[in-house]
Symmetry: C2
Subunit: 201 residues, 2 copies
DNA sequence: CCATGGAATGACAGTAACTCTCAAAAGCTA
DNA sequence: TAGCTTTTGAGAGTTACTGTCATTCCATGG
């Protein structure tokens, strides 16, 4: 996907970026988000605090990267055109989940855990979800031939995003808000319900 | 609704609270959120910075109060039981909007404007929306006799919240993200679409 | 009317997340 | 190697927020 960085400079940058992220994650888990200072992270990653903020504009941003959106969009585009939009999104999610490696899954779990625990991070994660909403609407617009701003598209996109929000953390906060395997099954079922007009029986 | 505060102390507290909020709002609009310091707000409201933080745990919280949720819940409960849940929520929203005084409307507009402009505040507003999701699910559970955690309830609640999110700011960020009168009509139409199974024709 | 207890306030010190600036170091290019 | 650009580190400064403690203000019993 992303062409491997070639020059020494690029490689170094990628390495320090990764180092900062890993040490941050580790420290957050060990001693909590709030009580981990940027200085500690910087020291652990062997860079200066200044450098930390050059790589991540805010402390929050260390865990806030999410590269699934474009992958999901691609997966939706890969569905045959005769499949109705909600079902296409559903299948795309299923396909992406199924191809997730255990390592990716595990790191995703850890991120979600932090989102659930730190309200500040949760807010930001929800913000990303709201941005994803526009992407969903774009995809629906493509598939239906309607404009992305059309009310029917917005309503459908919103409904899809809302179902995701309601079933997966960090939107869901009832019960244990850690990510579980079964949550995805519930999500797929939920989208199926939506597709069938939200029957109550 | 809220019984008027009786003792002098209570009255004073309410007054300083209101003063802080008003001066904060004014200063934010005059010179921007970021470049308004808590010290300035405190000085304008004639209290010490310490007192500011006693009334509002963080700078953000000055504009983050939202007392519509309980009102909306009540309005939904007031709908006759034979009305299906989504339609009941739709009617409740319509009823609440219609009874909103011009002053309330105007202050709501101003708040939304700040949410749209300051990403930090937008995130927090979305957080409130996510919390409202649980309330919506509770109301749906009541009306349908299902458990609040039931997948059908969660899916429906999520869909409703998502439609709101997609049509009103701060969820909607496309176009001008200030609140307009016509937005509510669009929202009511959007909920009607959802109720009718999101037809594309 | 006054005294006493509890709550609200203000002054102060301290921490940590950022921001800015500038000079040193490291990588690139010829 | 020499010269240029990019990256880094050090340091100072701002601001949001926390905790403490003495003071002031309000309520209540005598």
């Amino acid at each position: 996907m992303t062409s491997p960085p070639t020059s020494l400079r690029e490689r170094k940058k990628a390495k320090t970026r990764a180092a900062i992220r890993e040490h941050a994650m580790r420290l957050f888990e060990e001693q909590g988000y709030a009580s981990t200072t940027v200085d500690q992270i910087a020291e652990a990653a062997e860079v200066s605090p200044s450098t930390f903020f050059r790589y991540f504009p805010a402390k929050e941003d260390v865990i806030l990267v999410d590269d699934y959106d474009p992958i999901l969009v691609e997966a939706v585009r890969a569905q045959p055109p005769e499949v109705p939009p909600i079902e296409a999104i559903r299948r795309a999610m299923r396909d992406v989940f199924l191809t997730m490696s255990p390592e990716v899954w595990e790191s995703e779990r850890r991120r979600q855990k932090l989102f659930a625990e730190v309200p500040e991070l949760r807010s930001r994660a929800l913000n990303q979800m709201a941005e994803a909403l526009d992407l969903i609407c774009d995809v629906i617009a493509e598939r239906t031939g309607l404009a992305a701003g059309d009310l029917r598209v917005r309503a459908m996109g919103g409904a899809v995003a809302g179902v995701v929000l309601a079933i997966l953390p960090p939107g869901r906060m009832t019960g244990n808000s850690t990510l579980e395997r079964g949550d995805f099954d519930r999500l797929l079922d939920g989208l199926d319900l939506l597709q069938r007009g939200l029957p109550l029986v």
